[in-house]
């Protein structure tokens, strides 16, 4: 469903994403892990068509995101890590606007809006300007907007940031059901417990390159990590185990 071919992104002389190739099959929840600045968000934004790759290409369901953007983006729902939306629209107006961007309107859209607002407990806020929403409510609204056109795949950057435990649980359930029905989810996360519990496959990115990919069991076996937790595996692969002792950092 999502295929990255030799994807590279340079910012001047800095290589943010370095020749990444990856295939995320249909019906899979795929987790992208890596330390801060590893290139996860850049990769996801290239998949969403927001950034243009320096080299390589991104295919969504066979359509090149940059050569044939309209067809490719029709299949996609993107959820960014920072919930910037139009402050002076109401929640319902925003969802109607996004549906319009995907060419959808009329009663089916109104029903879908009502359904999503209900699921995310935003119904009583639907006629309130977004400027009055909390960070978590904005995040819920953006998630609703990514689902409004019933996409085939969802690309999501740090999905749990700003969500309360109830909404986080709801999102996990939604993603699992979405995948069970044949959808594809590619998400980046720092929360290793979430990745371990939810993801069918993972890729660990370090310095813009994939250092490990596959199921958690595959990665453990490949790197001879025995029964190590995903956290230990992650720290081993990304050099995080070399950080100074916590007590030393805290100076006590």
């Amino acid at each position: 469903m999502i295929r990255l071919q030799n994807l590279t992104k340079n910012y001047g002389s800095f290589v943010a994403v370095d020749d990444i190739s990856l295939h995320v099959p249909r019906g899979v929840l795929f987790g992208c892990l890596g330390p801060n600045g590893a290139g996860k968000t850049t990769t996801l934004r290239m998949i969403a068509g927001i950034l243009r790759p320096t080299q390589g290409r991104v295919l969504l369901g066979g359509d090149d995101v940059h050569a044939n953007p309209l067809a490719a983006k029709q299949r996609l729902g993107f959820i960014p890590d920072r919930p910037f939306v139009y402050d002076k629209l109401t929640g319902a107006e925003f969802l109607r606007f996004v549906a319009g961007l995907y060419g959808q309107e009329g009663d089916p859209v109104e029903r879908r809006i009502a359904e999503l607002l209900e699921v995310f407990e935003l119904t009583s806020w639907q006629n309130e300007l977004i400027e009055a929403y909390s960070h978590g409510m904005r995040q819920k609204l953006i998630i609703s907007s990514a689902l409004i056109h019933r996409p085939e795949c969802i690309v999501v950057d740090e999905p749990m940031v700003g969500l309360d435990p109830k909404a986080a649980r709801l999102l996990k359930d939604i993603f699992r059901q979405f995948v069970a029905k044949g959808g594809t989810v590619l998400m980046s996360t720092h929360t290793l417990e979430v990745a371990e519990a939810m993801c069918d496959q993972i890729a660990i990115i370090q310095h813009g390159k994939i250092v490990a990919a596959g199921t958690v069991t595959d990665v453990r076996r490949e790197h001879q990590a025995g029964n190590a937790s995903l956290e230990e595996l992650f720290l081993k692969l990304t050099g995080g185990a070399q950080v100074r002792e916590l007590a030393e950092v805290l100076g006590k």
């Binding site: 983006k73 002076k88 109401t90 319009g100 995907y102 959808q104 006629n127 300007l129």
Partner: protein, 563 residues
């Protein structure tokens, strides 16, 4: 605990300003710097030149000579102070209550006095830099005419600085009180309406009293009355009057320390009182400022009106147009500018109506057509300013939401088209109204009416495209305030390009209009010659090129945007 120095608290501000300068230099190279310096110097030279000539002339006039320059300076400084109080109130709201660095500063162990002084300094610089720059050529003209010498620059600085501090303290205190009464976001809405309403009122009042009549000799009943008025200070309690006295005293070699003492002691007292008020009310006000301006919108108004009108459009374009209209009319800082616009249109038409053209002589016909023709340039310039304010920032304002637009299957052409439609259609209506009404007031012939309306339509389409095009070529994605975007380098380039277009079109059409007026003047039959058609086609081609090329360039530029 040792408190950080004021300089340290302000460090992020001055470091950011320095970095921005470095980036500007690296991005734009020397060309950008040369253009900005050139335009700035030209403006300074213009202000200096005009004032120098007036002061030089007045110096030679008996009785009035010594009085009028002081009166002019007093009025200029008074208008500066009025502008400064208004702009300080608005700036203080951002720097004291809405700025992004406040969470960090308020949560840090920085004492209230440092916070107050840092934010007061920030408010003062943000709201006064333009006035201070404007004062340079004015004071230079006084210094040169009265031979103030090099020391005058330093003296003027000492006399002007407290005059800038006072409105900053007053503005900040007013904002502090308002925020304690209303939530900050509501206060911002309220202030933008009050500020624009006041500005509009002043413009209207100034125009309606017809100051040009004062220049007529029959306007003065008695020279002595006039001299008495000139000798009376505007108000002995106003700091602008103290600054004027201090400056004029120095220039006339009649130094009196009292105005300077008054200025500095009052400024010090105001800062102290402002700081005490800040200590008493800031914490409560800052808490109130965190409250959102929650508003419940049932509104189906735009959906049922505009949406109905746009029914034939594809849904993506329709929703985009609707979104832009909603955002405009729900943002008080945006729609309130329409008040000022309406007043400017009224003043514009009032000026045309006041022209003494119709006196029944044949030369009247020549002047009527000349005014009608030149009016195209003037109306075009007005439309360009409006486009700079309303159309130029539209691409920049999408910046933070561009993730949504770029990740959706929205065609960028549709986005550009929607922005062009929303911006240019009202501009076209306004342009045609301005030209049409002016021509009716001037009683022009049908030839001039048709020519003016057609030219204005073509020009407006081009101006809208240029504004959108330059807005996309020079985007300001980091700026949240739409009013600041047109004052950027891109805004300046847009205005220069538009003036070039207006000049090009007027020069192209001038020959055709001259042929027509000449024929009427000579009593020959009036008609459209093949040569005139040639000029019309050339002007139309110029406008078409100025419409298509910027839109194409904008589209190409937008395809390369990265976020």
């Amino acid at each position: 605990m040792i408190q950080p120095s004021l300089w340290h608290v302000l460090q992020p501000k001055w470091r950011t300003a320095l970095q921005r300068l470095r980036e500007e230099r690296d991005n734009g190279g020397y060309g950008k710097m040369i253009i900005i310096t050139g335009v700035g110097s030209l403006f300074w030279a213009g202000v200096f030149g005009v004032l120098y000539k007036i002061l030089k002339t007045l110096r030679g006039v008996e009785d009035l000579g010594p009085l009028i320059p002081a009166k002019i300076l007093g009025l200029v400084l008074l208008s500066f102070i009025s502008i400064l109080v208004l702009s300080n109130v608005i700036t203080a709201l951002s720097s004291f209550f809405l700025a992004k660095d406040l969470d960090l500063l308020v949560s840090a162990p920085v004492d209230w006095l440092r916070l107050y002084l840092a934010k007061l300094g920030e408010t003062l610089i943000h709201s006064s830099w333009m006035v201070a720059l404007m004062a340079v050529p004015i004071l230079t003209a006084y210094g040169v005419v009265y031979k103030g010498g090099p020391l005058f620059a330093l003296y003027a600085l000492i006399a002007i600085v407290p005059m800038l501090v006072l409105p900053a303290v007053l503005g900040s205190a007013l904002t502090l009180i308002l925020v304690n009464i209303f939530p900050a976001r509501r206060t911002r809405d309220l202030l933008s309406i009050i500020a624009l309403g006041a500005a509009a009122g002043v413009i209207l009042l100034f125009r309606i009293i017809r100051p040009e009549q004062l220049a007529r000799p029959e306007g003065f009943r008695n020279l002595l009355d006039f001299l008495t008025v000139l000798r009376t200070p505007t108000s002995p309690f106003l700091p602008s009057e103290w600054s004027t006295k201090a400056i004029m005293g120095f220039l006339r070699h009649d130094f009196d320390p009292l105005p300077l003492i008054l200025l500095w002691t009052t400024a010090a007292a105001f800062v102290t009182l402002g700081a005490l008020l800040h200590r008493a009310m800031y914490a409560q006000g800052f808490t109130k400022a965190q409250e959102g301006a929650e508003r419940f919108i049932r509104g189906g108004f735009w959906r049922w009106t505009v949406s109905g009108l746009l029914r034939g459009l594809p849904v993506a374009k329709r929703e985009f147009v609707l979104k832009d209209i909603r955002l405009f009319f729900r943002d008080t800082t945006q729609w309130s500018q329409l008040i000022l616009l309406a007043v400017l249109v009224v003043v514009y038409l009032f000026n045309i109506q006041a022209l003494p053209l119709h006196r029944g002589e044949p030369v009247g016909f020549y002047y009527v057509n000349l005014v009608s023709f030149l009016n195209l340039g003037l109306a075009g310039f007005v439309l360009a300013s409006i486009a700079a304010r309303f159309i130029f920032p539209t691409v920049s304002l999408e910046g933070r939401q561009m993730w949504l637009l770029r990740s959706s299957p929205l065609d960028l052409k549709a986005l550009l088209w929607s922005k062009y439609l929303v911006g240019t259609l009202p501009l076209l209506i306004l342009g045609l109204l301005l030209t049409g009404l002016t021509n009716v007031l001037l009683e022009v012939s049908s030839f001039m009416m048709i020519l003016s309306l057609a030219t204005m339509a073509a020009l407006t389409l081009a101006i809208g495209a240029l504004a959108l095009g330059f807005g996309a070529l020079y985007p300001q994605f980091e700026t949240e305030n739409a009013a600041q975007i047109p004052t950027s380098f891109g805004g300046l380039v847009f205005m220069m390009a538009t003036i070039a277009l207006l000049a090009g079109v007027l020069v192209t059409l001038a020959r055709a209009v001259y042929t027509y007026v000449r024929a009427a003047f000579d009593g020959q039959p009036l008609g459209v010659t093949p040569e005139m058609v040639g000029w019309f086609v050339a002007a139309a081609a110029l406008c078409a090129a100025a419409t298509v090329i910027p839109l194409r360039l904008a589209l190409r530029r937008m395809e390369t945007f990265e976020f």
